[in-house]
Structure formats: C-alpha cells, structure tokens
Symmetry: C2
Subunit: 317 residues, 2 copies
C-alpha cells in the first residue's frame, strides 16, 4: 500500500476484518445530562477504552498486519512521542516483529515506560521535528525496518476508520459525525467510512484555535502547517499530511475551532457527568457544540472520543 | 417494612424487579494489566455509572417505591451530606413525592446543587450527627414525611443487594466478592445475595484503617462506632448500624483494613488503567488486594465499585 492511495470503503472493511481479533469493540455511551445541556443527542464512541488507551491502536494494528512478509521481516519503525508509539509497539508484538521507536528525549516518563513495556527498542532524539525525522531515517537505514506513518498512510487511515464503522453500525440515523483533527488520520478515515455508509451524513471536524492548521488549510485549499502550536489538546499538535489533507478537502463538510477554556470545560463535563477519563483532545468536539460552533438542536451526533491517556499529576482543574 | 427485618433473597429479587425500570444495568469491566499486577481475575461491577453516580440509587429507589400509598403521601425525608441525599431526591421525583433532605451546611456545593436539581427541599443544619438527627426529627414531625435510612433499613439493603445479583448473574463462578464498608448497607445486601445465589462464595469487606469500626466490631462481636474518623474514602466515614451489623456478623467471612496511601494508589491505578472515574471509597477493595491483605492468587474476584462522585478540584494526585 503506497502512501498516496485514498482508501475505499472496501479497504476499510478489509482492515476491520483484519484487526477485529486484536482490538476492543469499544462501547458507545450517552449522557442524558450532557444531552440536555447541548440540546441534541450525542453518541460517544469511546476509544479511550481501546487498547493502549487510544484509537491509534486500530491504525497501527492494521498497518502492521497489512505488511507483506518481505516488508515485515526487519520489523517496523516510527517516530512519536505519544499514543502512536505505544500502539505500534503493541501491534508489532502481536505479529512478533521488532519495533523501533524514535522518541523525543522529553517525552513523558509514563509514555516511555508504556512503549518499553511492549518490548519496543527506543532511540531518543532532540525534541524537534528535524531530529525526529533524521534519527528515524538513520534507524530505518540501519535496521531495514518499515516506516509506519502515524497518519499520512493508507493502512493507518483504514484502521482509524473502523471506529466510525462500528459507531454507524451501532447507532443508525446519525445526522452528524464529529472527530478532532490533528494529523488527520482519524478524521479522514472517519469521513470516508461515514460518507460511504450513510451518504447524507455531515462530517464536522473540531480543532483547537491554538493549533488551527486544518481549519486554515481547509478554508484556503492550501496546506498551511502550524508552527510550534501550543494547546492543552496535546494529541492535536501535529499538522495535516498531504494525503489526509486531500481526503479532508473531498470528504469533510466543515471544520470549526474552539478555545482552550472551552476544551477544559468540555473535558471536565465528560469526566464529571460520564465518569470516564478522556484526554483533552477528545473533548474538542463537545467543546465545539457547547460553544455554539454548530447548530446541533435536535440532531443525532456521533463523536469519536479519541483517547484517555492523561497525566493525572498535571490536570487542568 | 420495619427496620429490624433481615432481608431474604426473595425480598432482594422483588426489589430488583421493582427498581429495574429506573436503574442502569451497569457494566462489569476487567483490566488485563490490573489482573497481572494482582495475580487474580477481577470483575469490577461499575456502580460509578449508576444514576446519581453511585449504588445508593438502588437502595433509595427500592425504599421509595416500597412505601405504601399511606406512608408515601407526605413525601420522604433523610439526612445525608452525600450520595444518599441525591439518590433519595431522584427516587422521590420518580414517584412524584416530595423529598426533604437535611444536609450539613458544610456539604460540598456540587452535592447541594445535585440535590436541588432533583427538586428536593433542603434544610441545612450544623455539621454534627446530633444536629442532623434533631433537625430531621423536626422536619419529619412538621411534614409527616417517611424517614428513609441510608443503610440501616431493609428496603435500602435489598436495593443495594441488586448490584451483586447482577454481577453474579453475569460472571458465574466467582470465588470471592469484595465490597467497601461504611454504614454497611452495600456490604450486608451483597453478602445476603451472594451467599444465597452461590453458597460457597467468600464475602470479604475492605475498610480504611482510619475508619475501622466494622473491622473492630466484627472481631469483638460488639458494635464499636468510630469517633470522628478521617479518611480520604469519604463514603466510608459512617459506622455500622444495628441491622447491618447483625447481617455482617452472620454473612461476611472477613474484614480487612487498608492504609490511606494504598487507597490513593489503587484509585490511581483504576483511573489510569481502566480510564474510569471512581471515588476513593471504591478503591478500598483493590487496595486490599494490592497490599496483600488477602490471598487472591488465581482467584476470580468480584468487586463492587461503589461510585464515581469526586471533587475534581481536590484530587489526591
């Protein structure tokens, strides 16, 4: 599978069949009090309960299991400070492959530990994109491992799309699906799957104002990466890739942005009302609804809760 | 139903049928990482997802729905600073009754708001047991409302027992059921239900060392209330009642105590690994397992997670 191919719904169904034995079928939860606050019916697809605590495991698992014997024989590699690193490490272990992970040396201890616990080989680098990419290049050339991109890669996108497939199968008649957008793997997969399975559905992405490259790129039609963005939604610091941007231009209906305060308030509301732990990135779509960035009245809205990995020692409330 | 009657499994099944339309059937969750840490298979019955965020709704709902027309006609009353207050307020609203709640004036704002939001009439009092009881007496004599005791009451105990009924029906072959113990309503109901449904099962209660009246009373055979106990497990500050103590003496196999640090560590482990929000009281049974207060090796253990109402602005980590 090359990096440039826009996946089809058939690819996504294939991915789902491939990863089903290894992923959790995560629950779809509702909250009557959040529904009254927001004036709509929200169905939360809870990928915070996914393995490694995030949807990222779906994409990593599909990418690793899709490799040919030949592509897989020297293992897999990536650079990531967060959920994709752990997801790839676990996916590689499932297939019995080596995983080489390039991590910025300032990654959180808990994330380093998680990656190690899955048996991956970590190479630390300076915390810059240049250092991450050059270190990865070196690791790949020394080991022959296959690079698995965290989002700008068909195999990854197909895997991420399977959360929306499960949501739509479980909750018929959704008017809108919302997902947060960082690199765009989750959003682009969600959009392809949802438009294929339910053509009239609207796809609305939500993004922090402080990391609004997808919003600006979508409006201008040109890829406009963020430079050094700062947001509490640490899963959304990445900018769109070439492939995810093309898909988003074609399949997404709208991108809205939200303030940092609204993200924290929405996160707190989900923690308090639903008794589940979600990471700040996952609160961004609800923040958009509660800040009246769309017109949700009476609508049935699906939201992909992207993950639940937070540092409990450093909470915003 | 008088205060002195020890409920039977038939009473508990009746309670279950009565409250089923109004309660959530809460999920039973497992965590493979917590199982590896603890060396046993733990099945968490998640009453943190129950209405009002705690098992207390089961008991309050059963008590309110069990009242005769005559007993119900002037409404219901109780004193409580916490979950029972909200649970009774909601249960009363479901039956269309007035609820009179005596709350200590220093109760948390969020709990006052919750009780108000269910339409209850609150009377504030000094934060002492004497003031609570005398104020309640006054309210009851002025209104004619029926007093619903938070734990020392057959109707309440039967309702709390239904969580264990669901757990045992869903997970056959448990070796042990654990519950935290405060006033003993949850523990005594759990014990009666579990011993009836699966006679060989062991019932082990867990209690904070800092509020160990049940432990001391169980060992001595005499009711020995705690005086002004201080523990982070704020749901377990109450001492056993006369009825719950009789049941516990007859039906419970063992009571173990745990340190404050072990409660915080177990709570954090559940938050981090399971991505669910539980209150400190709910972490007490896992704290006992992780502190080697029982021999869990290879056992199948059910734990009732009592609730998820925590003040996010005041976390212990």
């Amino acid at each position: 599978m090359t990096i440039d191919i826009i996946p089809t719904i058939a690819d996504i169904f294939e991915a789902h069949a491939r990863i089903k034995p290894y992923i959790h079928r995560t629950p779809v939860l509702c909250s009557s009090s959040i529904n009254s606050f927001s004036g709509c019916s929200i169905f939360f697809k809870c990928e915070n309960f996914q393995k490694v605590g995030a949807f990222k495991f779906r994409g990593a698992c599909n990418s690793v299991l899709s490799l040919s014997e030949d592509e897989a024989k020297f293992g897999v590699a990536t650079h990531s400070s967060g959920n994709h690193a752990a997801a790839l490490a676990l996916a590689a272990r499932i297939r019995g492959l080596k995983a080489y992970i390039v991590m910025p040396e300032n990654s959180s201890e808990i994330k380093k530990l998680a990656v190690k616990s899955y048996g991956a080989i970590i190479t630390y680098c300076e915390p810059t994109l240049e250092a991450r990419e050059s270190t990865l290049k070196k690791v790949v050339s020394e080991t022959g491992a296959s690079f698995i991109h965290p989002y700008n890669y068909s195999g990854t996108i197909c895997g991420q799309a399977t959360a929306a497939v499960e949501l739509i199968q479980e909750v018929p008649g959704l008017d809108i699906i919302m997902a947060p957008v960082g690199g765009g793997g989750l959003l682009s997969g969600t959009a392809i799957a949802a438009k294929a399975l339910q053509p009239g559905i609207r796809i609305i992405a939500a993004e922090p104002e402080n990391a609004d490259d997808a919003y600006r790129s979508f409006l201008s039609g040109k890829l406009m990466p963020s430079i050094n963005p700062q947001t509490i939604a640490d899963g959304l610091l990445t900018s769109l890739g070439t492939l995810t941007f093309r898909i988003i231009l074609d399949y997404v209906d709208e991108i809205v942005t939200v303030s940092e305060t609204s993200i924290i308030n929405a996160m707190r509301m989900i923690w308090e009302r639903m008794k589940i732990i979600i990471e700040p990135s996952s609160a961004v779509p609800l923040a958009a609804i509660l800040s009246h960035k769309l017109e949700p009245a009476g609508k049935k809205i699906g939201i992909i809760i992207s993950g639940g990995n937070v540092d409990l020692g450093n909470l915003p409330f």
